[in-house]
């Protein structure tokens, strides 16, 4: 069993992921990709980071009681991801669909390292993951992301500001320090894994044009045929 994260997956589908700090505009960009692809009649499946039920309760309970150490926090998210990978990502990829993921393992690589775990360790932890066919990183300065978040709502969320790390008592200052560290990690990750870096200060429409160009290139050799595990058996059943 090789390190899946470093080589092309064997499935007929396409995995497209977006990464970036909160307020980078990555979700907006991914939604526009989804609209566009569906309009072209492609079968599209959308999935988000951290949304399965298996360990959500445990994570929530742990957060409340402050039982979670950086290592357990990291492993629990990996467990959650393993569950989602098997149920929500690999099946549509086998069926030849285009899977759009809002955040992927790189979110864990940046966030968990900032929280204090070893960078090589967390990469090995997630080495069972499927490598994306296209990965976008929406790069944005802290001030811009902060302004975007605070136009949408009045306050920063506790974890988004990294308040549990005790970097600063003021949420805005804490956000700047925490997300600043995340940005540094993202920069390393983007070059390590050859992500498409998008300048996320540009107008939405301009960013989307670049994104669609990259996706269009990939679509040229994409054949949405479902993967059949054992053709001989299927044939036998028919006869």
């Amino acid at each position: 069993m090789p390190n899946h994260l470093r080589q092309r997956h064997p499935y007929p589908g396409l995995l497209i992921i977006v990464e970036g700090i909160d307020g980078s505009g990555k979700s907006t960009q991914l939604q526009l990709v989804q609209r566009w692809l569906m309009n072209l009649n492609y079968k599209v499946f959308f999935t988000e980071w951290n949304s399965s039920a298996l360990v959500n309760d445990t994570i929530r309970r742990g957060k409340k009681k402050n039982l979670l150490t950086p290592t357990t926090f990291s492993i629990l998210h990996a467990t959650d991801f393993a569950d989602r990978l098997m149920h929500l990502i690999i099946p549509p990829l086998k069926a030849g669909m285009i899977v759009l993921a809002d955040r992927y393992v790189y979110t864990a690589f940046s966030r968990d390292v900032v929280r204090g775990v070893n960078a090589d360790w967390v990469r090995e932890l997630y080495s069972f993951a499927v490598r994306p066919d296209i990965a976008f990183y929406f790069k944005v300065p802290i001030d811009v992301s902060l302004k975007r978040i605070l136009t949408g709502r009045a306050k920063l969320k506790f974890h988004e500001a990294g308040m549990d790390l005790g970097l600063h008592t003021d949420p805005v200052e804490s956000f700047k320090l925490f997300q600043g560290k995340i940005l540094l990690e993202y920069d390393k990750i983007a070059s390590e894994f050859g992500m498409n870096v998008i300048d996320a200060i540009q107008p939405i429409h301009d960013q989307q044009r670049i994104v669609r160009e990259v996706v269009t290139n990939k679509l040229s050799d994409y054949v949405p045929l479902p993967y059949i595990a054992n053709p001989s058996e299927v044939h036998h059943e028919k006869a």
């Binding site: 298996l54 445990t58 492993i75 467990t79 569950d83 990978l85 098997m86 775990v117 090589d120 090995e124």
Partner: protein, 243 residues
């Protein structure tokens, strides 16, 4: 002690573990080999000698108990989810129980440790290097005592009238946990017996490999309780005397 010796792999960068006063002593061995009875005996022996002792088992810390039980009840786990639940469980126990006890100067007797997880994971198809790296945050024990047994000697200990009845009624009531511990999820044989034998055979093979590579103290567990007990105590005394 040098830093790279302290942890099995990458370690816990945010924890200062250089002031561990106690000793971490691991007893490994497959299911039914008699580990737990030996550990109880050794604990009271050490306490009589004046050592503070805590014991710790493999699975089910406060944090993870519910997640593991729920997942097992549903049988919907894939290999990586199954393995990672146990990793999280161990990390929790290591940081909240084992390290604090060692800092306070206790002897920690571990009834199974990461090596059990290595064997179970590899038998379920995980890469050896992957699982060892994932557990890289674990403390290296001061000693690993491996209670070694052959499959022929193991079977009569585990499969007898008492355990068969217990298993039957536990499964009837839906409380049977050994569905997983006997490797039934792997579907290695037609019935529980065949599956158990094949599962244990593969586990023992992995333990054999690790015993050689990782310098376990090997104790012949086919001997009598008293003989095994004496041998385990001699090794532990040696470990304690060497500082």
């Amino acid at each position: 002690m040098k830093k790279h010796d302290l942890f099995f792999g990458h370690g816990l960068p945010y924890i200062d573990a250089n002031d561990l006063l106690g000793k971490l002593i691991v007893i490994e061995g497959t299911d039914g080999v008699g580990r737990t009875t030996q550990i109880e005996n050794i604990k009271s022996w050490l306490e009589i000698l004046g050592y503070g002792v805590i014991t710790t088992g493999w699975t089910r810390s406060r944090l993870m108990k519910m997640a593991i039980d729920r997942a097992k009840a549903g049988h919907s786990l894939n290999m990586h989810t199954y393995i990672l639940l146990y990793v999280a469980d161990f990390a929790d126990r290591l940081e909240n129980e084992i390290i604090p006890a060692l800092k306070s100067g206790f002897i920690v007797l571990a009834d199974r440790y990461i090596y059990t997880a290595f064997a179970r994971s590899v038998v379920r198809g995980a890469r050896r290097e992957w699982i060892q790296q994932v557990y890289g945050f674990a403390l290296n024990p001061d000693a690993v005592l491996y209670m070694k047994i052959d499959i022929e000697d193991l079977i009569p200990r585990v499969i007898n009238s008492e355990t068969l009845m217990e298993r039957y009624w536990a499964n009837q009531s839906g409380l049977g946990m050994d569905y997983w511990e006997s490797g039934m999820d792997l579907k290695l044989g037609d019935d529980f017996y065949d599956s158990f034998v094949e599962y244990q055979r593969r586990l023992l093979q992995e333990f054999e490999l690790m015993a050689r590579e990782m310098n376990f103290y090997v104790v012949d567990a086919s001997k009598s309780f008293e003989e095994i007990n004496r041998e385990l105590k001699n090794i532990i005394l040696k470990v304690l005397e060497n500082g």
